[in-house]
């Protein structure tokens, strides 16, 4: 078996640090919501007011916007757009890239100043970059999760759910 070395495994300890970082970011900026996404659009962690039901779709769309802007950057011979800002009437979204792999997204309303969001997001992205670095070192955790019994159970589930 040839595992894809690109699988990202987030262990318990690192997820704790990510949660802490997002909670602090939401509190310090007075934002509504903070999301950490993988560039593939999957939500790694989300923190904020209430329980959003649309978080999966939000993750897919934001990652899509970011991936699309990366292609725009290439056309302009720019390596990447590191951050983007979307301004609405009530809600705003600030998105920042972390090491080409993760995307940090902050949703905030007009009560929060964009300058504060930018400064504190920069601090958070530095912190999350070091967590990402540690996550990239994880290989052992994958073997613990993805044993042969897991794969067999997974195949059974696939056959059961995806039947004609």
């Amino acid at each position: 078996m040839d595992p894809q070395l690109t699988s990202i495994i987030v262990p318990t300890e690192e997820l704790g640090q990510i949660e802490e970082c997002l909670v602090r970011l939401v509190e310090d900026t007075g934002s509504d919501y903070a999301l950490l996404l993988d560039k593939s659009g999957q939500v790694i962690c989300s923190k904020g007011d209430g329980d959003r039901q649309d978080i999966t779709a939000l993750g897919a769309l934001i990652a899509g916007v970011f991936a699309s802007s990366r292609e725009v950057a290439k056309l302009l011979r720019e390596r990447d757009f590191r951050a983007s800002f979307q301004q609405g009437v009530r809600e705003n979204i600030f998105i920042a890239l972390i090491e080409e792999q993760w995307i940090l997204c902050i949703i905030f309303n007009k009560g929060t100043h964009i300058g504060l969001v930018k400064v504190l997001t920069k601090k958070a992205t530095d912190e999350l970059a070091s967590v990402l670095e540690r996550v990239r070192q994880q290989h052992k955790a994958r073997d613990e999760v993805l044993g042969s019994s897991f794969r067999t159970s997974m195949e059974d589930t696939i056959d059961l759910l995806f039947r004609d």
């Binding site: 040839d2 690109t6 699988s7 987030v10 262990p11 560039k39 292609e71 290439k74």
Partner: protein, 195 residues
């Protein structure tokens, strides 16, 4: 880029439906969405033009429930097939774990199929992945076309190099659902085996 969240006990995989314009990628997702149980599927999200052509992508999250204690989620995407959206396809393909290549069985679409598959190979390679080892399932869609325009399976195998690459291949009619779940099972298994 499968994501395994040990603390939250979640596994996420991304599967992309790729292929030339009007080959039936969105139809595959629509059929899956119409058939899977409510507790498995999320909303089907489509970013389309006014004429219902895919502009950016379609997105369908599937929640397979707990497997050995891990909540397992598959996210299905389609790319826009039209030639002009090449860069958009690159964006959607980003971080994918496997691809369903939907080929049009119309004889007159063979060159478009070949071009799209070549482009896919380039785009996968650009993401620093080995195309030969990347999980791919080929779906020959529209097998219900009239005989005059229907390409034979052998012809399609030949043009697309399917036999050489050893890809699983499924014959389908996505509008009626034939082969749609067989394709989904094949790609899901291929992705899981490469995690």
């Amino acid at each position: 880029m499968a994501l395994i969240n040990v603390a939250a006990r979640e596994i996420h995989c991304k599967i992309v439906y790729y292929g030339p314009g009007m080959c039936g990628k969105t139809t595959n997702l629509q059929y899956i969405h119409s058939q899977v149980p409510k507790d498995v599927k999320g909303d089907l999200l489509s970013i389309a033009t006014e004429t219902e052509r895919t502009l950016f992508f379609d997105f369908l999250p599937l929640d397979l429930g707990k497997v050995r204690g891990f909540q397992t989620r598959f996210h299905l995407y389609t790319v826009p097939g039209q030639v002009l959206y090449e860069r958009t396809r690159v964006a959607v393909l980003n971080g994918s774990d496997g691809v369903v290549f939907v080929a049009d069985s119309n004889k007159n679409k063979m060159q478009e199929n070949v071009n799209s598959l070549k482009e896919l190979a380039q785009n996968v390679t650009r993401q620093n992945k080995k195309f030969a080892e990347f999980p791919i399932v080929i779906q020959y869609n529209k097998r219900d076309l009239p005989r005059e325009v229907l390409a034979s399976v052998q012809t399609m195998d030949h043009f697309l190099g399917v036999t050489k690459m050893n890809w699983p291949r499924v014959e389908a009619v996505a509008t009626t659902g034939t082969g749609v779940f067989e394709t989904l099972r094949a790609i899901s298994r291929a992705v899981i085996s490469k995690l």
